[in-house]
């Protein structure tokens, strides 16, 4: 009985440690609510550590396309993220119009985007470190010939 208890305690500790490691980089939170009767409701909370891992699992062609699009802006994004990391919490941009409110802010090491309009409410928050590592992976993919190989055209 004691042995079983020790095993359970060990497993719980491993689980807790794993959860701790997974959440050590913070969490990415995406919430989308469509303001229609049948509108979609998405509420996704995922450990930010998974974002760079997910990049490895993404299809190469799509990743190459994204990498190609982001490549010219990487130095600017890199500089902006570095600057944001050192900045105090601040509302960077806030736009208010009748029926629409958008806000981009930095809060506790995360970038938060909130959009609220007549059609939907969107909330996205992501840790700056996770965004940085994802951007670096995209930049690396852009310069990696493996990702830049042209795909064989569909014979049909």
């Amino acid at each position: 009985m004691i042995l079983l208890g020790k095993i359970a305690l060990g497993m719980a500790s491993v689980g807790l440690a794993g959860a701790g490691v997974l959440c050590s980089e913070g969490v990415v939170h995406v919430k989308v609510i469509e303001k229609e009767p049948q509108g979609i409701h998405i509420n996704l909370v995922a450990p930010a550590l998974l974002a760079p891992i997910a990049m490895h699992l993404a299809p190469r062609r799509e990743l190459a396309q994204a990498a190609g699009r982001i490549e010219p802006y990487v130095p600017v994004i890199r500089a902006a993220l570095e600057g944001l990391r050192e900045t105090d919490d601040v509302t960077l941009v806030e736009v208010k119009e009748p029926g629409e409110h958008a806000k981009i802010s930095k809060l506790g090491g995360s970038i938060i985007v909130d959009v609220d309009d007549e059609g939907e409410t969107v909330h996205v928050s992501a840790p700056i470190r996770a965004i940085s590592s994802t951007v670096e992976q995209l930049a690396a993919a852009a310069s990696n010939p493996l990702y830049c190989q042209p795909t064989t055209p569909d014979p049909q």
Partner: protein, 199 residues
């Protein structure tokens, strides 16, 4: 003997407390200078619209040199199709030199049926007031400390403005209201201070 010792300990303790208090008081002053924010506020009460932007100057200084597109390179803007030393026959550098060394005064006043323009220097700041009578009484007020004007023109080249240097100069300047634009519906304000909000 024992009483003297106790008295000395009490005096030493009082000194320690005093020193600790002084350090506590001086610490905020000795701390790193407060972060400076560049604020932009655009408001249109008639349409119930507003845009607020708050960016730290340090961040802007980091981002600017990374942008290399069109006329902006390494934090410098290239003024094409214009040799700044001879812009429309006006020697800008000579004009700025004259403005820098001149005492506070009103230098240019132009009044016609379409607009009023006033260029002056006050307390080391260059001040420009423009009233556009045609465009629904649009008013533009620009106030730029001379240090920033100097930084803008600090590149040796005649057709370049050093925006990055101007941002650095702004960081060293105090709180300053740079631009206000007011027309019949919209109001724009651009200023620098140490607060991270616009309230």
């Amino acid at each position: 003997m024992r009483e003297t010792m106790q008295k000395r300990i009490q005096i030493a303790a009082a000194f320690c407390l005093l020193a600790a208090g002084m350090i506590a008081l001086a610490a905020p002053a000795m701390a790193a200078p407060a972060e400076k924010y560049l604020h932009v506020k655009v408001e249109d009460p008639a349409k119930d619209e507003s845009v607020h932007i708050n960016v730290t100057l340090a961040m802007a200084e980091k981002i600017l040199p990374a942008i290399n597109d069109r006329d902006l390179h390494n934090g410098k803007v290239w003024i094409h199709h214009a040799d700044m030393t001879e812009m429309n026959g006006v020697d800008i550098r000579a004009l700025l030199d004259a403005l820098r060394t001149a005492p506070d005064n009103e230098f240019v006043t132009v009044k016609d049926k379409d607009s009023d323009v006033r260029v002056a220097k006050a307390n080391g700041d260059m001040i420009v007031h423009i009233i556009d009578k045609k465009n629904k009484e649009q008013k533009v007020d620009v106030m730029v400390p001379m240090k920033i004007v100097d930084a803008l023109f600090s590149t040796g080249k005649n057709d370049e403005l050093d925006v990055a240097a101007a941002l650095r100069a702004l960081s060293d300047a105090g709180d300053v209201l740079l631009v206000t634009v007011q027309d019949s519906t919209q109001k724009v304000r651009i200023w620098v201070d140490s607060r991270n909000t616009q309230d």
